[in-house]
């Protein structure tokens, strides 16, 4: 194979081709050949760089220099100056429109690819219902290598050194979990894939299972081999019929090819997987509740310890991992732990998938290296806020997390940075809110969810979340007091400290975090009886516009509680304390002077 010292990449994307990049490409070919450099310099037609407005685009590698709007004459200059003499042609570099700053390196450009896909690497690329397509992209190679060439300690070592942490929310190091389960001796062990995904607004795991089910099956087999389990279980909510169907097909195909079953790839490793459907309770995503549910019992959590790794399914050592955690495993085995741990931040390695939802332009899934900032995700990848409105907050960690505000938009995202600013990584839901969102209403939404999903087993969570929801409802109805705010806070700490499982321990987080960052908004609700965004209907106010009011008295005449005062031909006023918001005045006014609340 010939090794080239330099590559000239000419964009062959549709946009650039229409701006004559093919001529530029041919010109480069001619120039390089006639200069006798064709053994050293390779010219490559590439796909779109995603920057068509500036085409034709030419990139020089390995120098990583990016030229824009290159014509045939410019090509000559690039060859003479850059390729032959090693001098960058400044004139052709991209200038940032606002700052006029000249940008040389591709990474520094605003549109530089910010997403890197490991867990989602095959989603949208292969047919999830065809095992041969998965095999074609390297599928089951990792399992093959593991069971034919590696011992269990080696695998534990690789996963530990990779730095992979659980993607289901807790962030527990996966290698350590595997090691503990491996070291607990038993005649029977289990490995469970947690596909409950009950966090409202999250759909990362569903997409992985729908788009690349074999990836998860392969990883479970690798995990099973490592910890010494011959049985895997996928716990998935029945509300995910498509994912279930594709898993079903995938399991059947893997069995047919002997990639599940007895003596896999001619070894003495036996492993099979079963699907267990859940009824969609949020608490059943908690691992001990999940195990109870899988055993046919009520989906309620147990006190830990014992942890599932000690006593899990049917009392046997069990390793529970999240879908996305599994989806990283084959890639780590094949590419090595050095590769994986080179991505991300010091304590959080690899990438994280986020489900972007709410008031954001590009609703969808993103996968970014740990350490990417909120600003990059929301503005560069997510396309900013809908309707160009003002960003207010983003909720991470779903009902267990909290809000991130403007001041923390530049925080690099990882497990520890998020905890330090009062939220948590959670499973990856990211709900973006704009200035029309009322933060008290948001807190109420999450508490309505948790009080409903509380399994009822422990009192602090069962009764506490209900009381919190009632207080929040009182506040959004305009009947809250300052005392209520104090009670909310106190209840929050009591529920956090006293609850049995993660559901209750984290349920007050949305309230505590919105109270911390938007205290003023709470005060407006309870003191001034105003909802600044107009979302809380209970605080809605009818008003009379003094400019338009002619003093006809029509409104005062129809007011059932006689709270409108004013003399004939003078401006009328509504007494807000007595107003019952019936709207009769609005109907009666023929001068559009009564303003109806939004």
């Amino acid at each position: 194979m010939t090794v080239y010292r330099t590559n000239i990449l000419v964009c062959g994307g549709t946009g650039c081709v229409s701006s004559a990049s093919l001529d530029v490409y041919n010109k480069f070919k001619k120039l390089i050949t006639s200069a006798g450099y064709d053994k050293e310099v390779k010219i490559i037609k590439t796909g779109c760089f995603g920057f068509c407005e500036q085409g034709p685009i030419v990139k020089i590698e390995p120098d990583n220099v990016f030229y824009v709007k290159v014509n045939k004459k410019d090509a000559e200059e690039i060859v003479n100056e850059h390729i032959i003499k090693g001098r960058i042609v400044k004139r052709l570099l991209y200038k940032e429109p606002n700052s006029k700053r000249i940008i040389e390196k591709h990474q520094n450009m605003p549109f530089y690819k910010k997403q890197f896909r490991i867990a989602l690497r095959n989603c949208g690329l292969i047919n999830p219902e065809d095992i041969y397509e998965y095999i074609a992209v390297g599928g089951y190679e990792a399992l093959g290598r593991v069971i034919t060439k590696m011992n269990r300690d080696e695998i534990v070592d690789i996963i530990k050194k990779s730095g992979l942490r659980g993607r289901g929310g807790g962030g527990f190091p996966t290698g350590i979990k595997w090691e503990i389960t491996k070291n607990n001796h038993s005649d029977k062990k289990y490995i469970i894939c947690n596909a409950d995904e009950g966090d409202p607004g999250a759909f990362m795991d569903r997409s992985i299972l729908e788009g690349d089910p074999h990836n998860v099956l392969e990883a479970m087999a690798i995990g099973g081999y490592t910890i010494g389990a011959d049985k895997g279980l996928i716990y998935i909510r029945a509300e995910y019929p498509l994912a279930i169907e594709r898993l079903d097909i995938a399991i059947k195909q893997a069995r047919e090819l002997g990639l599940l079953g007895n003596n896999i790839l001619g070894t003495d490793f036996n492993f099979d997987i079963e699907i267990k459907l859940g009824a969609g309770a949020f608490v059943c995503g908690e691992e001990t509740a999940l195990i109870n549910s899988a055993e046919g019992k009520r989906g309620e959590p147990n006190y830990k310890p014992p942890y599932p790794a000690q006593e899990g399914l049917w009392g046997k050592p069990t390793c529970v991992n999240n879908v996305e955690t599994f989806a990283n495993i084959p890639a780590i085995i094949l590419n090595g732990y050095e590769w994986f741990s080179s991505i991300g931040t010091e304590k959080s390695k690899g990438t994280k998938v986020f489900a972007l939802a709410g008031k954001i332009n590009n609703v969808g899934l993103v996968e970014v290296p740990m350490g990417t900032t909120f600003r990059e995700i929301i503005y560069d990848i997510g396309g900013g806020i809908q309707g160009n409105r003002k960003f207010k907050a983003v909720q991470t960690g779903g009902p267990s997390g909290g809000v991130i505000t403007e001041e923390n938009l530049d925080t690099p995202i990882d497990y520890d940075s998020l905890s330090s600013i009062g939220s948590m990584m959670g499973s990856g839901g990211m709900i973006v809110m704009d200035d029309t969102t009322c933060m008290v209403d948001v807190a109420k939404f999450y508490l309505e969810f948790t009080q409903d999903e509380s399994c009822g087993r422990c009192t602090p969570c069962r009764i506490g979340t209900k009381r919190m929801f009632e207080i929040l409802t009182k506040i959004t109805d305009g009947k809250g007091t300052k005392e209520d705010l104090k009670n909310l806070e106190q209840l929050s700490y009591m529920i956090k400290d006293g609850s049995l499982c993660g559901l209750g321990q984290t349920a007050p987080n949305p309230v505590l975090s919105t109270m911390k960052f938007f205290k003023d908004e709470y005060l407006q609700h309870v003191v001034n009886k105003v909802c600044p965004t107009g979302r809380c209907k209970g605080l809605a106010k009818y008003k009379i516009d003094p400019e338009k009011c002619v003093g006809c008295t029509a409104c005062a005449k129809v007011c059932p509680v006689e709270c409108i005062s004013g003399k004939l031909k003078e401006t009328h006023v509504i007494d807000q304390n007595r107003c019952i918001k019936c709207g009769a005045c609005f109907e009666a006014c023929r001068f559009n002077a009564v303003i109806k609340p939004k």
Binding site: I118, R121, L125, N127, A136, F203, G258, L265, L365, E367
Partner: protein, 132 residues
Amino acid sequence: MGIKSLDELRKIRENSIKKIDLRNQGNEGDNIEILIGMATCGIASGAREILNTLAEEVSKKNIKNVKIVPVGCIGYCHSEPIIQVNIPGQKPVIYGKVDKDRAIEIFNSHIIKGKAIKKYTLDIDFERAKQL
């Protein structure tokens, strides 16, 4: 038939690679592929109808070298239904918000005449981890 060894798995991979070659960078040959996002997001925004429409076009025009492949979600749920056209020797083109009319338009222009319709294309900006 069960695969009996890692070597056998690798042979199957060699034979299957042709199936997906087209998706990365144009291989030789004249087979055209249309990938269609058929995850929940795609289906919810009408991907089934698009799949049927494309399949109808293929059979109506009696085209033999086009294969339609359902795939998962590429994360651009805001632009579903999404299809990707892979033509040998060319960089794959991804189209977003494909409704029935667009699907037919794209089919006639891109598949039949080889001309991509730029205004419907999606710019995608991610890199996939390599496995092997």
